[in-house]
Amino acid sequence: MSDRNIALSVKNLVVQYYTDDGRINAVNGVSFDLMEGERLGLVGESGCGKSTMALALMRMIKPPGKILSGEAWIQNFNLYELNYEDMRMARAHMIGMIPQGAMNSLVPVLRIKDQIMDTIQDHKLGMSKEQMLERACEALESVGLSRRVANMYPHELSGGMKQRVCAAIGLAMKPKVIIADEPTSALDVITQRQVMETIGKLQDQTKASIIMITHDMGLMAQFVDRVAVMYAGKLAEVSTVKDAFTNPLHPYTKLLISTLPVLSRKGVFVSIPGMAPSFLELPAGCPFHPRCPSAMDICTEKMPEQITTSEGRLVSCHLYQA
């Protein structure tokens, strides 16, 4: 994997929210590299900071939240140092987003073509109206939709069609990095698969990299190259899919894998003991230690550093500290 270039390099990202009860670090010192053309899956329990990270990478954190520190490099630009206008232009162009389209991600009062053309127009490509319309129709065709969809309103589309439209819009500007935030969560299994295949095909064509956020470990195993496991605002482990499933390093990853249903244990649901911690009352030391079966004395005192193993995997756990 090292023969490929780095598409996105995130360094020590910290996102802080101000609440009535104090400050919380929803993303707390995250660093990783995303390779060109790579598919990285981001997993974790609800409220672990996945979606915050997605917004932070788009630089779209709104008050009372704030990107406290960190860098996010795409090519030679640190997104957090761009001025307001440049960052706006970078969105969709350098770093794009595919949202949960089945929900409410399309503007209800505008036709689909306008929603795509507005994106193109605001990126000042100097195209004529006809060229933009043509580009919008191409984008729809690229996700397997008919050109007629361009003249429709969102409420006239099915959930799967809406998701495809969202993908078409997110990919219309051919971004280098795509963040897909649970793009298939509200769809049925068949549609899910079709949409994922479409996204994968388009991504291959444009050689973009993708960060996919999901709850669905099964989907993850089929689709992504590497898995990043997030816990309480930190990355517990980043490994290839194969390594993560066959030889997980972090105890949290091990537990996550063990909760997956297996046919031989039909009818038995395994869950991780304990609850995801509240950001307001994070335990001292490693945030996972109260639930960790392999917790040691040091885990209650000291936060483990993120280390890179000889195979190039990232892990933050005292079991592997030198």
């Binding site: 003991p273 304990g274 609850m275 911690p277 509240s278 009352e281 335990p283 109260p290 639930r291």
Partner: protein
């Protein structure tokens, strides 16, 4: 292994902190704070006033008419010889009294019908929903004019309140109905049902406390509607023209040309006091709404 949330027991805290917390809350919900402050100011004004005024001077011909404010008549007197200070002290509360009678009766009716509609469902709900819709669409004020015209100036304060109540119940009924419907789906009511509590007990023990702040906001806005209606009827000459009410003041003030005669004090007393009432009620009502609906609070 669950992470315990450590809440500080409120009872162990000194009282001053609670006061400070209340003040902090008013800072976040200024409508309620300012509204209550206006109410307190009005109460103080009335209490001080009650020691100073002679109720009889609030009637026509009691004092020398058309006197500008002076040491003797600090708010002046109107063209018909009422002491405006007396009217201000007493009339404000008569006006509010009409409002409260109307709102209390209307709310009572509305809450009862809204509860019934939501709770029993079926044909009761179907009929009541149509009746509510009809009453919501009819501008009650127009019917009030008809009724009041028929009764002439013979309506007492309580009577005016009751008539206005006839057209105040539909709004609260609709709101209570939808609130009960949504509350009924919540877990604690489902739990109570599973625990074998009967319907009436669920209504009174589980639903009612949850609706209280909400009903408070509704009540105050009903008072506002009633004060509006009673002042409106008075302007048309359909109120009680003898009692020293603020609406009555407006009627005489406009029909007897207080403005063209340059008697600014006659204009100012009812207008300022009514504005005070309306703004006060509006602020309290929207403040209580905010108190009742935490989602609104989160948004801001």
């Amino acid at each position: 292994m669950t992470v315990q949330t450590s809440t500080v027991q409120p009872s162990t805290r000194p009282k001053r902190t609670r006061l400070r917390r209340a003040l902090l809350y008013f800072k976040r919900n200024p409508s309620l704070g300012i509204g209550l402050f206006m109410l307190i100011a009005l109460i103080v004004f009335t209490i001080v006033g009650l020691f100073q005024v002679d109720p009889l001077k609030g009637y026509a011909g009691a004092v020398r008419g058309s006197q500008p404010p002076s040491a003797k008549y600090i708010f002046g007197t109107d063209g018909q010889g009422r002491d405006l200070y007396t009217v201000a002290v007493l009339g404000t509360w008569v006006t509010l009294e009409i409002g409260f009678i109307a709102a209390a009766v209307g709310m009572g009716l509305g809450v009862f019908l809204g509860f019934s509609s939501a709770y029993f469902g079926g044909w009761v709900d179907n009929i009541l929903r149509w009746v509510i819709d009809v009453f919501m669409t009819i501008p009650g004020f127009l019917i009030l004019i008809v009724l009041a015209a028929l009764l002439g100036g013979r309506v007492s304060t309580e009577g005016t309140g009751l008539i206005i109540a006839l057209f105040l119940w539909a709004g609260p009924a609709r709101v209570v109905r939808s609130q009960v419907l949504s509350l009924r789906e919540r877990q604690f009511v489902q739990m109570a049902k599973l625990n074998g509590l009967n319907d009436m007990r669920i209504i009174f023990e589980e639903l009612f406390p949850n609706l209280l702040p909400f009903l408070g906001a509704q009540l105050i806005s009903a008072v506002m509607g009633a004060v509006y209606s009673s002042a409106g009827l008075s302007i048309l000459g359909l109120g009680n023209l003898r009692e020293p009410q603020l609406g009555t003041m407006l009627y005489f003030m406009t029909t007897q040309g207080a403005v063209v005669r340059g008697m600014w004090w006659w204009v100012a007393v009812p207008v300022v006091l009514l504005c005070w009432l309306f703004v006060m009620l509006y602020l309290i009502s929207s403040g209580m709404d905010e108190l009742a609906n935490p989602r609104l609070r989160r948004r801001q």
